[in-house]
Amino acid sequence: MKRYDAIVVGAGHNGLVAAAYMARAGLEVLVLERRYLIGGAAVSEELYPGFTYSTCSYVCSLLRPEIMRGLDLPRHGLQVIPYEGSLNVLTDGDFLASYSNHDRMRRELMRHSRRDAEAYDRYALEILRQCKFIRPMLLQMPPDPTSLRPKDLVDLVKFAKPFSELGEKRLYETMRFWTMSIGDFLDEYFETDVIKGHLAGSSIIGTALGPYSPGTAYVLLHHYMGEVDGSIGAWGYARGGMGSISKALAASAQETGRCEIRCDADVTDIIVKNGRVKGVALADGSEFYADTVVSNLDFRRTITKLKWTEALDDELVRKGENFKIRGSSGKLNIALDGLPNFKGVAVKNNPALSGDIHYSPSLNYLERAYDDWKYGHWSKKPYLDIVIPSLMDPTMAPEGKHFMSVFVQYVPPSLHDGLWTPAKRDAFGETVIGLIEEMAPGFRNLILHKQVRSPWEIENEVGLTEGNIFQGELTLDQLLFNRPVPGLAQYRGPKKGFYMCGSSMHPGGGVMGAPGYNAAREVLKDLRRGAPA
C-alpha cells in the first residue's frame, strides 16, 4: 500500500488549505473525505433542478487574502462578487438600509437618527481600528504563556509586542472591546433600537450568547475582520456558490501533482504506535499510512469520536467532552419563483437588496431570541440573515428565479422535550417562513422548493458537532492559547505526528483558512520543510 507524507482527515476548507500548502512544499498528501463531495460546510449542491444551493456557509469575506494570493485561487476559478449593502426590514413598512457607500449610509442613518449618524463615524473608526489590530494575529500561532522554554518566551514576547505598542489609551479600548457585550458597546454610541439591532447581528451569528452577554463584541469583530478586494469588513458571494472556494482550493492543491483527494472515505481510526501516529483506518477497514496526520474535524469529534488505537488519557477525553461547541443556528435554503417584495423596499437595482437582509428590530429582540434557546426552544421570533445571491450571481438560479439562503439564530442542538424530529424541524421551518411572510407578503407563494436544517441535520450531514458553525464557541475561555484547550493550542497533538487544522483551532471559524494555513506551517516546521510557499 502506498505511503504518504501526510494524511488530512476531512476535506473542509481548512483541510484543503492545509493540504495545498503541504503539497506545495513537496509533501505527498492524501485527503480523505467522508461525504460524496469535498468542501465540508463550504459546498454548492443542486438540490432542485437548475438551482445551486450554498447549502451551509453562504457568504465570504474572511478568507485570508494571503491564502487567496498564496494558493493563486482566482486562477483556479474563484471569483468573489462583493455586495454593496444590506437591509434590516421592519414589519411596519419601514426599514434600515446600509450601503458600502459611506455618504449614502450616513443619509440613511440620518433618516432614523441624526445623533446616531454622527456617532456612526466614531463607531466605524473604532471597529476598523480593532480589525486592523487583530488581523496580523490571525496567521500567527498562539504562544504558550505557561512555558518557560526560551523559544516559547520569545513567541510570547513577539505576541505581546503589538499590545505594548498600542499605547495606553488604545490598549484600554482593546481590553474593553475584547471583554464587553456588544449591547453595552453599542449603547455607548447609539440611541436608536433598529440601528443597534442592525449592527448587533454579526455579534451573535453562530454563537450561543445574547447581545448582552460579555464577549459578544469580540464575536462582532470576528465577522468584520475579513475583506473583499482589500476593503476591510466587506462581504461578497463566491461565484457559483461557496463550493467554488473548495473547488479552487482542491485545484490549487492538485496542480502540484502531489495531492490525492478521496471522497466517500470515512476515517474512523487513528493508528498510533508507541505514542506516534502511523496512519488512519476507514470504516470499510482499509488503512492508509503516513507519519503525519492532520485532522480537520472539530476538537470534540477528533478526541471523542475517532477511535485511537492507543487510548488518549481520560483527562483529555473529559476536556474534549467539555469543549464548548454549541449548536445555535439553523438554515433554510429556498428556491424561489421570483423576487420577494419586502415591505417598503424598492426592488429594482437596489444595492441594499444585494447583501444580507436581516430581521433585527432591536437588541432586546435579539436577547429574547437568545432566551428561547437557553431553555431548549428555537427562537419564536428569530434573528434572520437572508441572502439572495442569484441577484448578483446569475449562475445560482434560472433566469428570473432566485436562490435564497436564510440563516437562523437561535436554534438549539436538541429541544427541551427531546431530540429533533422531522415534525419539529418542519415546525421550525414554518416559524421562519411565517416571519419572512410578515417581512415580504406573498413570499410563501414564491417557494418552489425548500430545505430546512436544524443543528441536528447540520451535524449529521457535515459532521460539525452540534452543528456549531465555528467548530467551537468564540469565548475568552476558547480563544488564542485557550483554543481549543490550554496546552493544545499550537496545532500539534495529542499524539506525536498528529495535528489539528480545523476551526476549533486559533483563530477560529468562518471560511477563513487561517487554521489550515497555520497548521500546515507547523507541520512543515517540524519536518524542516521551511515556510509555506
Binding site: 495606553e168 471583554t179 464577549g215 467539555n322 431553555y375 475568552l476 475561555d477 490550554p486
Partner: protein, 528 residues
C-alpha cells in the same frame, strides 16, 4: 462659621467602610483627616439601624466574608471590638417545606451524588488556589497600561509571576476559566442540580449577571478571595452585625486621631485653580483641605459633587457609561418567634440558607431582570443573625435578613411604589413555602429595592459593588481607564469607594489603596 474652618490635610466624603478604612490609615500616618458622613451614623450601606422597633440590621450587609485580613490586623480591629458570633457559616440549600441539602455535609451530599461529594472539596481547594493567586493584587494599585512608567511594568510582571507561581497546570486552568461563565463551570464539575445552583448563586449575587453570563466565574473567585480568621472563603456573622464592624473601623480611625462628623452631608467639592481645595456642606459650611477623598460612587463623586465642568468630555462620557444599576434587593423581617420548621434545622445560628429555583430557574430570574420586570421566584440568600447574636432583637424575637437576586432598579412598566408591596408579599410567600410558619411570625418587614438602597444610603445606582464587577470594569479599567489609581483628573481629588479597584463587598481594599496613594502624594507634594 461659614468661612474655612481649621485646615485639614484630607477631607473624606462619606463614612462607608472604605471611607473609614481610609480615614484610619491616613490618621495613623499622622495626616490630619476629617471624615464627613451625611447620615447620623457611619457605615454607609452597612449602617446599623432599627427597621422595626427593637429589631436591628446592618443595611445591605448581612455577612462578612471579604474584609482583608491585612486590614483587620493593621487597624487592630480586634482591639476595637471586632468579634464574630459565627465565623464559618454552613450553607443549607432549601428544598421546600423545611427540607434542605447541607452542602458542607459530605455524607448528606453523598446521598444525592457520590461524585459531587467527592469533587466538592477538591473544587473548593482549586478555586481557593486561584483566588489566592489573585488576592494579593486586591491590596495594590492596579497598574496603568503606561509602560513608559517602570512601576506599571513591574506591577504587571508581579501579577504575571504570581499566576505563574501556581504551576503550569493551575495557571492554564485559571487562564481558561477566568473568562468563563458559572453555568458551564458547575455543569462541567457537578451533577446535582441543587449544588450547581447554589454555587452559581454565589457567583452572580450582587451583579447584573445570570449563571450563563461570561465573567461570572471571575466574580466567584473574587468571592473566594475573602477569608475569616485565615479561613479562605469562610462566611462570618460579626457580633452586633456588620454594623458593629463599621463601629470598630470608626473607633480605629478616631483612636488614630481622625475626626468623624456625622449628620454632615457634603454638597459639593471646592475647586480652585483646577485643584480640589475642600468641600462645602449642605448647610454652607466650608471645610478646606489639601486633598478631597470621596467614598461616594464614581458618578455621584465626579458628576454631582465635583461637577462635569471640571472634567473633559471624554472622561465624563466614560463616567456616564459606568454600569452601576443595582440588581439585588434587601428584605428584612421581624419575627416574634421562630417557627418549628426553622428550629428543626441543624447548625442553629451557624448557617445561611440559600433559596434557588435551580440553575435554569436562576437564569430565568435573571431574564426577568434584563427586561426590568420582577421574577416569579427570585433566588435569595437568607440569614437569621439573632440565632447566634440575640442582642439584635428583643428577648426571644428574631431578625431574618435576605439578599434578593434579581430585582431591577427600575421597572419597565409602572414604578416601585405600586410594585414594592406586591414583591414583598411574594418574597414572604416563597420563604414561607421553604420555611413553613414564618409568615405568621412576622411583626415587621422592610424591603429595599436597588432604588430604595440608592436613596437610603446615598449609593448611586443602588449597586452592591458601586458598579458591575465584569472584566471590562475591573482592575486597570475601573472605574475609568487611565484613572484607576484613585487619583482623578482634578488634582487633589481622589476616589476610595467600591467603584474603584478592586471593587465591592466589604473588603476595605479600595479605602486602603486610596489612602496609600494619598500618603505617597502628600509626601512628595510640598505643603502650601
Amino acid at each position: 462659621m461659614s468661612a474655612a474652618s481649621s485646615n485639614y490635610d484630607v477631607a473624606i466624603i462619606g463614612g462607608g467602610h472604605n471611607g473609614l478604612v481610609a480615614a484610619a490609615c491616613l490618621a495613623r500616618a499622622g495626616i490630619k483627616t476629617i471624615l464627613l458622613e451625611a447620615a447620623d451614623a457611619v457605615g454607609g450601606a452597612a449602617r446599623g439601624y432599627e427597621f422595626h422597633p427593637g429589631f436591628k440590621v446592618s443595611g445591605c450587609a448581612q455577612i462578612l466574608n471579604l474584609l482583608r485580613p491585612e486590614i483587620v490586623d493593621a487597624l487592630r480591629l480586634g482591639d476595637h471590638g471586632l468579634r464574630y458570633a459565627a465565623s464559618d457559616l454552613a450553607t443549607l440549600s432549601l428544598l421546600g417545606d423545611g427540607q434542605y441539602l447541607a452542602l458542607d455535609d459530605k455524607a448528606a451530599l453523598a446521598q444525592v451524588s457520590a461524585a459531587d461529594a467527592e469533587n466538592l472539596p477538591d473544587f473548593r481547594r482549586r478555586m481557593i488556589r486561584y483566588a489566592n493567586a489573585l488576592a494579593p493584587s486586591l491590596l495594590r494599585q492596579a497598574p496603568r497600561m503606561d509602560f513608559a512608567n517602570r512601576a506599571n511594568v513591574w506591577e504587571l510582571a508581579r501579577f504575571g509571576l504570581r499566576i505563574r507561581m501556581l504551576g503550569r497546570r493551575d495557571m492554564r486552568e485559571l487562564l481558561r476559566i477566568i473568562g468563563m461563565n458559572a453555568y458551564d463551570l458547575v455543569t462541567d464539575e457537578f451533577e446535582n442540580e441543587t449544588l450547581k445552583a447554589s454555587i452559581a448563586l454565589d457567583a452572580v449575587m450582587g451583579n447584573f449577571m445570570g449563571p450563563r453570563s461570561p465573567n461570572s466565574v471571575y466574580t466567584y473567585l473574587y468571592r473566594m478571595a475573602g477569608s475569616t480568621n485565615g479561613n479562605r472563603g469562610a462566611l462570618a456573622l460579626p457580633a452586633g452585625g456588620v454594623a458593629a464592624v463599621m463601629q470598630a473601623l470608626a473607633a480605629a480611625a478616631r483612636s488614630a486621631g481622625a475626626e468623624i462628623r456625622t449628620g454632615s452631608p457634603v454638597a459639593r467639592v471646592l475647586v480652585k485653580d483646577e485643584r480640589a481645595t475642600g468641600v462645602v456642606l449642605d448647610d454652607g459650611t466650608e471645610i478646606a483641605s489639601r486633598i478631597v477623598l470621596s467614598n461616594a460612587d464614581p458618578k455621584t463623586s465626579l458628576l454631582n459633587l465635583l461637577g462635569p465642568e471640571h472634567l473633559d468630555t471624554e472622561f465624563v462620557r466614560r463616567t456616564r457609561h459606568f454600569r452601576d444599576r443595582g440588581t439585588t434587593a434587601k428584605l428584612h423581617l421581624a419575627l416574634d418567634a421562630l417557627p418549628d420548621s426553622l428550629r428543626n434545622l441543624p447548625k442553629q445560628g451557624q448557617a445561611r440558607f440559600l433559596l434557588t429555583p435551580g440553575l435554569l430557574g436562576l437564569e430565568r430570574a435573571f431574564d426577568a431582570c434584563k427586561y426590568r420586570t420582577v421574577p416569579d421566584a427570585p433566588p435569595m440568600e437568607i440569614v437569621i443573625p439573632t440565632l447566634s447574636d440575640p442582642s439584635l432583637a428583643p428577648e426571644g424575637k428574631h431578625v431574618l435578613s435576605a439578599n434578593v437576586q434579581y430585582v431591577p432598579y427600575a421597572l419597565a412598566e409602572g414604578n416601585w411604589d405600586g410594585a414594592r408591596a406586591k414583591l414583598r408579599e411574594g418574597l414572604i410567600a416563597s420563604i414561607d413555602t421553604q420555611l413553613p410558619g414564618i409568615k405568621d411570625r412576622i411583626v415587621g418587614a422592610e424591603l429595599l429595592t436597588p432604588a430604595d438602597i440608592e436613596a437610603k444610603f446615598r449609593l448611586g445606582g443602588g449597586h452592591w459593588h458601586q458598579g458591575e464587577i465584569s472584566l471590562d470594569q475591573i482592575w486597570t479599567l475601573r472605574p475609568v481607564p487611565g484613572f484607576v489609581q484613585y487619583r482623578m483628573p482634578v488634582a487633589g481629588f481622589y476616589l476610595c469607594g467600591a467603584g474603584t479597584h478592586p471593587g465591592g463587598g466589604i473588603t476595605g481594599a479600595p479605602g486602603w489603596n486610596a489612602a496609600q496613594a494619598v500618603i505617597a502624594d502628600l509626601k512628595t507634594e510640598p505643603t502650601r
